[in-house]
Assembly symmetry: C2
Homo-oligomer: 306 residues x 2
């Protein structure tokens, strides 16, 4: 069992979808990644920052799931990062209503000593310099560094982003971002160019259309499970990344064949995330449900042509 | 080996994509369906209509591929159906530049006697009354009737369309059309409603995002092969349908498990269709290429989670 280090936001979200709206609820990339990875029973630690307004109960909930939060700095006089968004009817597009960086603005991540030798590092979406600073603090080179990012950093900090991309083994990115980063429309060509930037593996997330894994000319496709109702897509990408990293931490097999399994598990867990608002579904999710859904994924994808 | 009857347009297309443009070239749903199905060596016949301007060489090319064209009426004094379109840079959207119905306007399909007992009937996109008229002429109820249609008929002939949908076993339809026909955004719910309209199997085509097969609560997903370059998407949906119907005609197994294989073959053949303009790629396609691509599909989709 490998040790997993997660860096990313721990936040408040206020979400509006065609199905309803929430007040400030628990959110943040590291929260979703941590909850998703926790299903594999791995020893994981989160590095993040919150304000004095962040309920201790939320941290306890994470601790109860065996997620170490020693690396979550609490800035007593500060306020927690807040994001608010409204999804359109198609659930694929959204408007950001508010982004209050608060304590995130001056966040200097500090990796706890006992996570400086983590085997797998999952760098959630944050300023690329913050992501790089986490890699700098590792005393042992991780077996696998996974980076998630978004178009925002391509717009305002591209050089820093390219520097940290060089240093990771896997990048997870959505289709539009892959196109922006590479300047290529075809995802096959985009993945090729992103490979050349450093990462051995490129995972392109296509939301309801699934995810593609690329490695040195090889391709694998994990569908998203078609659902009767998508309640709230918030956190689905992070949940996917958490399932991916958590499965690899558990199995300790970094072959392409096992990375295939990891994206299937990422898709599996993400399919639950969207069933309720925020982290609600992920908090209550059981191992039996994940196992049952794996069977659904097999039915959805497996065939035997004679 | 089952007998396959195909009804649909045989046409001239003029196509413009970011990669170039063509003059009037061979096109039409039945052409693409027939060429695709011909890879399974089935006995197939096309019912369609062309004008006196249609080169006999095109019909001979189809005959050389073992596609019977006795049911293709030639209206000497008429002109062949003509469609012209221009694809946008994303290759997923297009503008229709011209639609000249010509001989199609008064088309009364006549099924040749020796195809009136076909085991599988593939009703390509046409006016629903024309599709229904083909079913009316069958002397033996087909083992499988497959219907393709489009939003145009939902707009102008919905009642006729619903009547013929009631009579078929499989409907193939794209995602937007499934939403329009059912009034449901979720494809899972859309498929459920379309089931209730008659077809036991619902195939929802999602272009570059693959295709979903639904049957009585069961789902199967066939991805599209990610390609470095899509040259011309014209006919990809019909090629998919032709591969689907052709594989079923060859294997004579109408179980859900074999329909899974049929959508994989549909996706396989469609992935070739888009590699060149018009029917060019499908005309030159070899059995070895199809077999090799099947291996690519397996690599793309198959995994074994321990």
């Amino acid at each position: 069992m490998s040790k997993l280090l997660v860096v990313g936001t721990v936040a408040f979200d206020a979400i509006e979808t065609p199905f309803g709206k929430t007040d400030k609820i628990l959110g943040g990339a590291a929260t979703y990644i941590g909850l998703s990875a926790s299903h594999f029973g791995v020893d994981s630690g989160i590095v993040s920052v919150v304000g004095g307004d962040f309920p201790a109960d939320y941290l306890h909930m994470l601790n109860d799931k065996n997620i170490n939060t020693d690396g979550v700095e609490v800035v007593k006089e500060g306020k927690t990062f807040f994001w608010s968004g409204k999804y359109h009817n198609d659930m694929n597009t959204r408007d950001t209503l508010a982004t209050e960086l608060n304590v995130l603005e001056h966040f200097k991540p500090v990796v706890p000593d006992n996570y400086k030798n983590s085997d797998i590092v999952m760098l959630g979406n944050l300023h690329p310099l913050v992501q790089a600073s986490v890699l700098d603090q590792m005393t042992v080179k991780p077996k696998l560094a996974v980076l998630d990012t978004m178009n925002f950093w391509m717009d305002i900090a591209l050089d820093d982003l390219l520097d940290v991309i060089k240093r990771v083994d896997v990048i997870t990115i959505n289709d539009e971002e892959a196109r922006q980063l590479s300047g290529e429309y075809s995802l096959v060509n985009a993945a090729k160019k992103i490979h050349e930037m450093g990462p051995k593996y490129v995972v392109i997330k296509k939301g309801e259309h699934g995810a593609l894994l690329f490695n040195d000319g090889k391709m694998f496709y994990a569908p998203a499970l078609p659902l009767a109702e998508v309640f709230d897509p918030t956190g689905a990408g992070d949940t996917f990344a958490g399932g991916f990293a958590g499965y690899l931490a558990k199995t300790e097999d970094l072959s392409f064949d096992n990375l295939k399994n990891a994206v299937i598990y990422g898709s599996n867990l993400a399919s639950f995330c969207v069933e309720k608002f925020g982290t609600e579904r992920m908090q209550e999710l059981t191992a039996d449900e994940v196992k049952e859904r794996l069977d659904q994924f097999k039915e959805l994808t497996q065939y035997s042509i004679k």
